[in-house]
């Protein structure tokens, strides 16, 4: 299964890991945007999750608590966004951008004393003999719990948005807040919940970067993953399954280009490093173009603040 010195099985197994941060963040943002809110602060919430998760995990010695801490950190930052946009009716684009800058700065400050420390290890889920199945065991049964959690969230969100009343209400609020208000739904409260959920998911994604992917704390550790998550949501036409494809594509090319670098490829390192971003965007643009419906799939009230004027 080796091609050009790269083992395919290992590649697939590691792309699933590499995709987890952006997948989690993209799923969170997908729900936020479905509810009609454009939160551009994903990068900021991710890096807050990364540092909060790191501090909690180092402090308590428990990776699980670390992830919860990361989710909490992202959620707290997202509530700042929620307060500004849903209560004070600030512009969502400007607030989201400010949130990212704020998150980058604050995380750097909080992380001052955590450089060079190793976090506790997040182990693989013990599947026992299942791990020894050739190929499948390595790809499916060798991961830590967050990888399974991220895939489960894809299925869960797809089902919730498509088939449940909660999902219907979230979509309705994002489609027309005026109509939803007229029917008696609390638009801003529902959006607040969606924003908090998005923050928690982004925070968890960030924690995965600092606790598993890297694993240590460095300034700016998320390196633009939040922006990729945002792009994936749009080009995935707000569909969870497509977000999964987008995230795995990005993860796959990230891993592949690292392997190519290690294998001493003739392509200059700069091109390899930029390739995941370029190819992911390109493929998703092609996927979402030429259908007409994809562009129309955007929630109609996306980015608009709602104030009940009566």
């Amino acid at each position: 299964m080796d091609i050009g010195g790269i083992n395919l099985v290992v590649l697939v197994a590691s792309l699933m890991v590499a995709a987890v941060p952006i997948l989690l963040a993209a799923l969170g943002e997908l729900v936020v945007e479905k509810a009609g809110v454009l939160n551009l602060g994903v990068e900021g919430m991710m890096i807050m999750g990364a540092i909060c998760g790191f501090i909690t995990a180092v402090g308590t010695g428990s990776p699980l608590l670390g992830f919860l801490g990361g989710a909490l950190g992202g959620m707290v930052l997202s509530l700042v966004f929620a307060f500004l946009t849903q209560v004070l009716l600030a512009n969502q684009v400007a607030t989201g951008l400010a949130l990212t800058l704020f998150g980058l700065g604050l995380s750097s400050l909080m992380g001052q004393n955590y450089n060079g420390i190793k976090p506790p290890l997040t182990g693989a889920v013990p599947f026992g003999p299942l791990r020894d199945i050739p190929v499948l065991g390595r790809i499916v049964f060798s991961h830590d719990w967050v990888v399974y959690f991220s895939v489960a969230m894809v299925v869960l969100l797809w089902w919730v948005l498509k088939a449940t009343r909660l999902g219907l209400i979230i979509r309705a609020v994002g489609e027309s807040h005026e109509a939803a208000h007229a029917l008696g739904y609390k638009v801003n409260r529902i959006r607040l919940g969606a924003i908090a959920f998005g923050g928690a998911m982004a925070g968890m994604g960030g924690a995965y970067v600092s606790l598993v992917r890297v694993p240590q704390w460095v300034d700016g550790i998320t390196a633009g993953a939040g922006w990729i998550a945002l792009a994936i949501v749009v080009f995935a036409s707000w569909k969870p399954w497509r977000a999964l494809i987008g995230a795995y594509l990005f993860g796959g090319i990230s891993v592949l280009q690292l392997n190519l670098q290690a294998a001493g490829s003739a392509i200059p390192v700069e091109y390899l490093s930029m390739s995941p971003y370029l190819i992911t965007i390109l493929v998703l643009v092609i996927m979402s173009s030429g259908r007409g419906r994809a562009a129309l799939n955007a929630p109609a009230a996306l980015g608009q603040n709602f104030h009940a004027a009566r």
Binding site: L168, I169, A172, E178, A179, L183, N297, R310
Partner: protein
């Protein structure tokens, strides 16, 4: 109707907003199965009143009694649980969701989607309102969308159905279907609270009427025995004078449109297809049609916002089809689009600046390339005075004016430019009856002075009142214009419904 048991009694309801008293000591009652009309002009407080009954707004004072028990819904949910359902004036529908999902959103405990779809089919057949539960609401016509709203209400077995201006978007035939449904409901014991300012409808449908003016109940009437004129005067509180028509001579053709086909620039818009007509000096051409059949596109094509081959649009015999709005204004054509905030006026600019935006060319408001502010302010103030625009001054932002006042300003600004050709979309939309009469009179006066006028409107009564000739836009096609005299509402309905062949067979 007095022997009907009282379903809902409203007693001394008062609701004030900062600066306005929306309802002052309002009392009335509805019996079970009664069709009760709430009659009043824009801003009379009808909508606030029904929002309180539906639980969207809480009254400051007063109380409501439902079948003898106190009724104070905290939210629409509580109102729905009691048995109150409401069909909104501006549809409360979600375009990107399908019919069944839209219905489910308006219900307290919707059944699973499959059962719901079957129920929707059953109810829609029972009441003669055919509807496919799996269709996207965005693809439905205005009449079908209203069916979605009505069926959403009917599935909850309401005891009281509130309808806020339900017929403003319907063709006459659709109105007939709606009325049949409402009569059937009323016969089954559902009370209906019917809000409208269309008097003929109220006379044909309602058992009783409560008339509101400036938030107060000014009277009750029996619509079956009162004349439309009596009702209108009670509603306005003044004697209404219908617009006066001066004897007019038809002059030369000032606006000629032939074989005009343009693609719509609006998403989900309707492209114009082979539109042809002419309007002569002193003549008013009325163009009717259900919203979304090419009205906006026709205005854009006439005002110059969409270009066409040059000989397709002629102003005073000069080919102008490829010219922009500025050159068409210079040639004598003024246009007033429907959307006041954002299209007809720049919301955050003052009335003076807005006056300049369209008046600059014809009124000569520039000097050596600079704005002549004194002349512009003078022009804005003349418009404000002549059209009775209620505003603290010409310096306020367009956004700060109420819809009706801004409409008066926008129309006045165009009509004051000594135009040869006037194109107006929805001239009296959202304007109260007295102001509407003034605007119609101004349009007729311009025509009498020799202007050619095109009025696009969804208000049939308005068109029949001021037009000399009448045509209908349907799917982007214009029917051949016909003289208004001798035209019956039935014929107009057929023209609007798209049954071109039938209409010809009817008439030749």
């Amino acid at each position: 109707m007095s022997e009907r048991p009282v379903l809902l009694a409203v007693e001394g309801i008062t609701k004030a907003y900062p600066g306005v008293v929306a309802n002052a000591d309002v009392s009335f009652s509805i019996g079970e199965g009664e069709v009760h009309a709430l009659l009043g002009e824009n801003g009379a407080g009808k909508s606030t009143l029904v929002k309180m009954i539906y639980g969207l707004v809480k009254p400051d004072q007063g109380r409501m009694v439902w079948k003898g028990a106190d009724y104070a819904p905290a939210a629409p949910r509580a109102a729905r649980a009691t048995g109150v359902a409401m069909v909104f004036q501006h549809f409360s529908l979600f375009e990107a969701l399908n019919v069944a999902e839209n219905v489910a959103l308006g219900m307290e405990n919707p059944p699973p989607m499959k059962e719901l779809a079957a129920k929707i089919r059953a109810v829609s057949e029972e009441y003669g309102l055919p509807l496919d539960p799996s269709r996207m609401v965005g693809d439905l016509s205005a009449g079908e969308r209203q069916r979605v709203e009505i069926i959403r209400c009917l599935l909850q077995d309401p005891k009281l159905l509130i309808m806020d201006e339900p017929t403003s978007v319907l063709t006459p035939q659709e109105v007939e279907i709606l009325f049949r449904t409402l009569r059937q409901l009323s016969a089954e014991g559902t009370a209906i609270l019917y809000i409208s300012h269309k008097l003929e409808e109220i006379r044909s449908l309602c058992d009783a009427a409560t008339i509101l003016r400036r938030g107060k109940v000014v009277g009750t009437a029996d619509p079956k025995t009162s004349s439309a004129r009596e009702l209108a005067e009670a509603m306005v509180g003044a004697t209404l004078t219908p617009p006066e028509r001066h004897g007019r001579e038809k002059g030369r053709v000032l606006l000629g449109v032939s074989d005009l086909s343009v693609a719509s620039p609006i998403p989900f818009g309707t492209s114009l297809k082979e539109v042809s007509f002419t309007v002569s000096a002193g003549e008013v051409l009325g163009i009717a049609g259900v919203a979304g059949n090419g009205q906006d596109e026709l205005l854009l094509a006439l005002s110059g916002e969409i270009a066409a081959p040059s000989d397709r649009v002629r102003i005073d015999s000069a080919p102008m089809g490829d010219k922009g709005p500025g050159e068409r204004r210079r040639a004598g054509l003024v246009a007033a689009p429907e959307d006041r905030l954002g299209h007809a006026a720049a919301p955050d600019m003052s009335l003076v600046e807005n006056a300049f935006l369209t008046g600059a060319i014809r009124k000569g408001l520039t000097k050596n390339g600079f704005i002549d502010w004194a002349a512009t302010r003078d022009y804005a103030e003349r418009v404000i005075k002549a059209y009775d625009v209620r505003t603290p001054g010409s310096h306020v932002a367009a956004r700060a004016l109420s819809g009706g006042n801004l409409q008066k300003f926008v129309i006045g600004r165009e009509l004051s430019q000594e135009p040869l050709v006037i194109v107006i979309n929805q001239p009296t939309w959202g304007v109260d009856a007295a102001a509407a009469a003034a605007i119609r009179q101004a349009i007729l006066d311009r025509a009498a002075e020799g202007a050619a006028v095109v009025v696009i409107s969804q208000d049939l009564d308005e068109l029949l009142e001021i037009s000399d000739r009448f045509a209908v836009l349907n799917g982007g096609r214009l029917t051949p214009p016909r003289p208004v005299q001798g035209l019956t509402v039935d014929e107009i309905g057929l023209m609007m419904g798209g049954a071109h062949g039938m209409e010809v067979a009817h008439h030749v």
